[in-house]
């Protein structure tokens, strides 16, 4: 679309005097071409009438020559060139932002009012900042991409697609980008919304006959952040609307940020065109933190809240919480709270067994038999079929999932697992578990399936 306008401009330039061209067309851009309703952005209202009355036909012809169907042409005033201006370098004692922040803090030591007002406008929560995002080997790539976006939004990493499991900091990172963009340039229009809110707003706007306004609101943005994209609904109209907004913003080099728990082509409900567009600029993942990363997170967290905790306790927690960062921080807070209540240090608490860090322990115990039954039922098999020697792939998969769960959840030995699912020996079991582990890394459907089985088991 962008290039179309450049071509059209080149054609127009041939037809009119260069003074006229540079006066009337230099700062124009194409906002949208949807359904033949052409919208052109002009510098200010003074340009509207002239373009409408004197150049309408020339513009129409130039666009049609570039295969853009034209029904109507309208001219609007939008400040789209703002993103071309780089945010001014922030120096410590002179910039308004700093002063604004300082002053805000001094006026509202707890900036509650401000938080509320900014929430409604940008959807961002100011508690998410880059300073509090702990960088480790599990997220350094995504983090450096984020920094590059902050320095020059709408360029290299656009759209920025960030994916990873729950509780690994997706929301934190993308909201921190939004907050930092605004901090550097308070005029920057950023909007954060989970995809589900996007839909409900869209449906509301349609019901109230304000569909155009809805679209316009998004077109005015400099940066759109969509969270939890995997919840995208397969309703043609709303997905199409998102697709259009995405395209419009993309053409105008506005920064688009999308988070999801998996890659777009693994989300069943997503239109293929959209799926491929989302990862044009690559996809960045947040992985589970490694042991060292977890320790670093806990240390930073302790420093943040000014708590004292022994290094051994940190390592113990890091070693034993293997789900995600949210659980890690949750467990950590619980231990700190208990330590305060009981008057023991965190390490003492752990050593005398008052706290258990094993996240699985809260679930009610299940027997190996139940596991096998649930897995069989989930895959629409009888227990006998699952335990059979069949090499049919879906039965084999079910059998391997059962092995995996027996080993990981019930901590059975491989020999015991072998007897539970009726396979030859422990090597078959080891092979099966390895296979599942490997495909879990890539196959998000399988991940969902296993999560669902677990839910049925413990729920």
């Amino acid at each position: 679309m962008y290039d179309v306008w450049k071509n059209a401009l080149a054609e127009i330039e041939q037809q009119i005097s260069s003074a006229n061209y540079s006066t009337w067309f230099q700062d124009t851009s194409l906002i949208s071409t949807q359904n033949g309703d052409i919208k052109i952005n002009v510098k200010n209202t003074f340009y509207v009438k002239q373009l409408q009355n004197r150049y309408y036909d020339i513009i129409k012809k130039a666009l049609e020559n570039n295969n853009v169907p034209v029904k109507t042409i309208s001219f609007e005033v939008q400040t789209t060139n703002r993103h071309k201006i780089r945010p001014r370098e922030i120096t410590k004692d002179t910039s308004i932002n700093n002063h604004l922040n300082e002053i805000r803090n001094s006026i509202h030591p707890q900036p509650k009012n401000h938080l509320n007002s900014s929430l409604s406008e940008t959807g961002l929560n100011q508690k998410y900042t880059l300073d509090t995002f702990i960088v480790g080997s599990n997220n350094d790539l995504a983090f450096s991409a984020a920094k590059s976006i902050i320095d020059s939004p709408g360029t290299r990493y656009n759209p920025f697609f960030l994916y990873g499991g729950p509780g690994l900091g997706k929301t934190h990172l993308v909201q921190a980008i939004g907050n930092e963009l605004i901090r550097r340039n308070p005029n920057y229009r950023v909007f954060y919304t989970p995809i589900s809110h996007f839909y409900s707003d869209f449906i509301d706007s349609i019901q109230n006959g304000k569909g155009k306004e809805f679209n316009r609101k998004f077109q005015k943005l400099d940066c759109l952040i969509i969270d939890d994209f995997q919840l995208i609904v397969n309703k043609e109209k709303s997905q199409e609307e998102f697709f259009n907004i995405f395209n419009d913003l993309y053409q105008l080099n506005k920064q688009i940020i999308v988070t999801s728990d998996r890659l777009p082509n693994q989300i069943k409900t997503v239109d293929e065109r959209l799926a491929s567009r989302l990862t044009w600029a690559g996809a960045f993942d947040l992985q589970l933190p490694k042991f060292e990363d977890k320790c670093a997170i806990l240390r930073a967290k302790a420093e943040q809240i000014g708590a004292e905790i022994e290094e051994d306790a940190i390592e113990y927690i890091a070693e034993n919480v293997n789900t995600n960062i949210r659980d890690l921080e949750g467990k950590f807070s619980t231990i700190l709270l208990m330590s305060e209540v009981r008057g023991l240090t965190p390490l003492e608490l752990i050593q005398n067994g008052s706290v258990s860090v094993d996240t699985t322990s809260k679930m009610r115990p299940v027997s190996p038999k139940q596991v096998v039954e649930k897995v069989a039922k989930y895959y629409d098999l009888s227990v006998a079929e699952l335990k059979s020697k069949s090499r049919v792939s879906h039965i084999m998969l079910a059998r391997q999932v059962a092995m995996f769960l027996l080993s990981k959840e019930l901590k059975l030995s491989t020999n015991k697992v072998a007897s539970e699912v009726n396979v030859k020996d422990h090597t078959t079991v080891m092979h099966g578990i390895k296979k599942i582990e490997k495909s879990l890394k890539l196959n998000f459907t399988l991940r969902d399936q296993i999560e669902e089985i677990k839910e049925r088991l413990y729920g």
Binding site: A19, N20, S22, T23, K43, N44, T45, F46, Y47, V48, K49, Q50, N53, V77, Q78, T79, R82, I85, R86, R88, K92, D93, T94, S95, I96, H99, L100, E102, I103, R104, S106, I107, H108, N113, H114, S117, P186, N187
Partner: protein, 366 residues
Amino acid sequence: MKIKVTQEKLSKALNVVSRIAIGKATLPILNNVLIRVNQKKVSLITTNLDMAVEDYLPVSESEDGVITVPAKLLAEFVSNLPKGDNIEITSKDTKVTIKSGQYTSTINGALADDFPELPEIDEKNSVIYKIGVDEFKNSINQVMIASSNDLTRPALTGVFFNTYDKNLAIAATDGYRLAEKKIIDKVESEVKAIVPTSSLQEVLRSISDEVEEIEISFNEDLVRFRLGDVEIISKLIDESFPDYQKLIPKNNNISVELNREELIRVTKLAALFARSVGGSIVCEAKSPDIFSVKSIANEFGENDSHIETKVENAGKINLNSRFLLDALNALDEPDIKFEFSDRIAPVVLKNKKSKDYTHIVMPLNS
């Protein structure tokens, strides 16, 4: 097209409209003034595509028609004609003939077809305010000094007209200081619009002695100022202005009353020694009852001036002397209030009696 008008009237009108049509535009027609005669109504119009100026000209005789003429040339020619003479302007095709007594000249004009059509304010969809001309002039001058000319932050290059608590207030900030003036109270309609400072300067220049009231109309993307026979239409800046109310500290524990002239004098003295440190001076409220202004320049020496006044809480703050002087010059009562709380919050400067003008200056880090 034909008009007959006195030299004074024509010269005055041309002076008002020709300022924005002087030579900067790449499009030649923008350097012209459009003369339009339509059923005895004669107007002179110029535009630079950010704003347009139109002046209605009272004439004794006229024939309908439109033509454009290089504005600067016409203005200079007319201003050099003898005062009191009648001038007759006629056009044939693009030739414009100006006759006055024994002086005649013909200027090559251009057809009005190429002159841009200008946007208009739809009065039904606009909010309209009226304000006395002296009050307007004074208020704009008090606020405009705080606006920025940094084009990378367009929102700050204008004056923000906004209504709250039934007041129409105008405000400007460049990030280092902020000035606000409430100009009309008990307003019913609402407005939030940033008017470019350059347009306001043009409005101020166009005010003539016989104008008593200014009418300001806003619609979505335009503002129009009506002052007597002159109408100025300007674009608005399509940006959001910082939520400046939050920046004005409400509770200052240190408040000192000072004679404005005296503070200006000591600030100027201190500024002399502050040149090498970027104009940084230290203002300090000391008990008992001394307000001091100090500056130190390592190579030249130092300066310390005292003013006696009532001091309840002590404290000091570093300020840029130029910003302080601007603020003091914008205040207009003999006595003023100088309020602050600690070193990182800004200073609030107000007149002692009237509460409608507030000027805040950010402190420098010490």
